[in-house]
């Protein structure tokens, strides 16, 4: 394939944090690395599912084999980073006398922990006013030592300097950013992801694929995000089906973890678009897990966006292994949408919004649409999205 001429904004920025450590079994490096960061008394943030699956014990074992002291395990985190649990988790850190955190979990756990560390760093106890501020860059200072072990290959939250917070009372999700909220160190240890159930493996990987695809097609795409995003797409397309066939294939799991981190680095710097805007609203109002909501909306938003910059979708088709030689760019771009649909089908992701009770009449979809239109990511969609467009996308995704 001849590489197309691609334009990008004449000015862009790129932030590169955190350090990443990759190895099957890399958790054994935790003590050495945390000591370098200055942490001694550790609180682990996680969820009950990971405790029951024995995954947290694998990390506790690594803590116990080091000079670190485990002073508490907070396992109450549930789907989405919720304001009440952020505040409660902050109090827990202080009660335990901790001076550092180790985070074991997926996006909800990692985002909750980011917010907790901001409160610890600032010496305050309520995250609600900070979440509303959206950007916490003014006078931001480095935060206490923070190491994360992602246990899903999806959100990339271990590398992103933002968190999505659910206000469960107002039923709204808000993305909030802080330059030091991501961990000082992300340890990618694929052995911690082996017990992840197939369904969650599939839709979290689709989350990562969505990050990569939106990062490559957003109005803010740039050559660095293109490089990371396109290679993440290649890896996910190749290794997700292998992991679904052989869940204990640590090497394939490792590739997915790496791709997830790459996609995270890509989208946090170039932003996302209509898939995320519509998915955040679906999560807030209907409780659909973020990765699954992204997966459902992805092909519909892609099809809507094709006409705006087809050459970028051609790159996606190519990265997904479609033989585009001899195709017109229009046909090759459409092939990218089909490749996504084929991948979803092959891994058993066939849900639509209907399965989650999303209504089909326009009147009932107005609030959902309004929420999506107020999302910070909607402005970065490559094709200008009007209210009516969003509403129609929801109808198509039913």
């Amino acid at each position: 394939m001849k590489y197309p001429d691609l334009s990008f904004e004449p000015f862009f920025t790129w932030a590169n944090r955190p350090k990443i450590l990759y190895k099957a079994g890399a958790r054994e490096e935790l003590g050495f690395e945390m000591e370098k960061l200055g942490g001694t008394k550790v609180v682990i943030y996680t969820d009950k599912g990971l405790v029951q699956a024995g995954v947290v014990d694998m990390v506790i074992e690594a803590v116990n084999e080091s000079s670190l002291e485990l002073v508490g395990v907070y396992d109450k985190i549930v789907q989405d980073a919720r304001l009440d649990l952020i505040n409660e988790g902050t109090a827990f850190y202080r009660e335990c006398g901790a001076d550092c955190m180790v985070v074991v979990g997926g996006g909800s756990v990692m985002d909750t922990a980011k917010a907790i560390n901001i409160l610890i760093g600032k010496g305050i106890d309520d995250f609600a006013p900070l979440a509303e501020q959206v950007g916490l860059f003014d006078d931001a200072q480095p935060l206490p030592p923070h190491v994360a072990f992602p246990t899903t290959a999806g959100t990339g939250a271990e590398v992103t300097f933002a968190m999505v917070v659910l206000n469960d009372i107002e039923k709204v999700k808000v993305a909030c950013a802080h330059p030091y909220c991501n961990p000082d160190l992300a340890i990618l240890d694929p052995e911690l992801t082996v017990k992840l159930p197939p369904k969650i493996t599939a839709f979290t990987a689709m989350d990562a694929l969505t990050h990569a695809i939106e990062a490559v097609t957003t109005v803010s795409a740039n050559p660095i995000s293109d490089g990371l995003g396109l290679h993440a797409i290649r890896i996910i397309t190749k290794y997700l089906p292998e992991v679904m066939k052989s869940p204990e294939n640590v090497e394939a799991r490792g590739y997915l973890l790496i791709a997830s981190a790459m996609a995270g680095m890509s989208f946090i710097n170039s932003f996302t678009g209509g898939v995320h805007a519509t998915a955040h609203a679906l999560g807030a109002l209907y409780g659909i897990p973020h990765g699954l909501a992204n997966s459902i909306m992805l092909p519909h938003v892609m099809a809507f966006n094709l006409e705006e910059n087809p050459e970028r979708f051609v790159l996606i088709a190519d990265a997904m292994g479609v033989n585009i030689d001899g195709m017109t760019s229009e046909r090759a771009a459409k092939a990218a949408v089909q490749a996504v649909l084929d991948l979803q089908k092959s891994v058993g992701l066939t849900e639509t919004l209907k399965d989650f009770g999303v209504p089909d009449d326009r009147e009932s979809l107005l609030h959902l649409t309004e929420l999506a239109m107020g999302d910070s990511q909607v402005s970065y969609n490559p094709r200008y999205l009007e209210e009516d467009d969003v509403l129609n996308l929801y109808l198509k995704a039913r």
Binding site: Q133, S379, Y380, Y384
Partner: protein, 139 residues
Amino acid sequence: MKYWQDETEPVKAFVTLWERVSQDPEFIDGMKKVNQLIWFNYTADGPNCSFHVDGRDGKFIVAPGKPADEPNLTMSLSADDAHLSWANKLNPVMAITRGKIKVKGSATGLLKLAPKLKKVAVYYEQVLKDLGWEDKMAK
């Protein structure tokens, strides 16, 4: 300042822009939903370089200077960056992450208007033309 001769020019341009925007039913509706008193603070470029928009309780009042009441949201940036922002030449999220736009208060409401920036830019271009300031068009 790169685009302005003195602190009165940006205030004149932006207040005129918002007065124009306040005639558009789409924005009237949007500001009602935002329901905030917003202070656009450019005082780093001059003590009087600011204006405010009061969209509380169904109002849509635009006036120069700092509001008498405590604003729900203060957006602080340079008058040049504000010019780029209204011309839709400044990525607002990127500007916040770089500390070029400082946000105090709840920005979630105003985010709902972010998708309208393209339309605001069209108004802004016309306002600059009407004021005889075509030379200030953002490149």
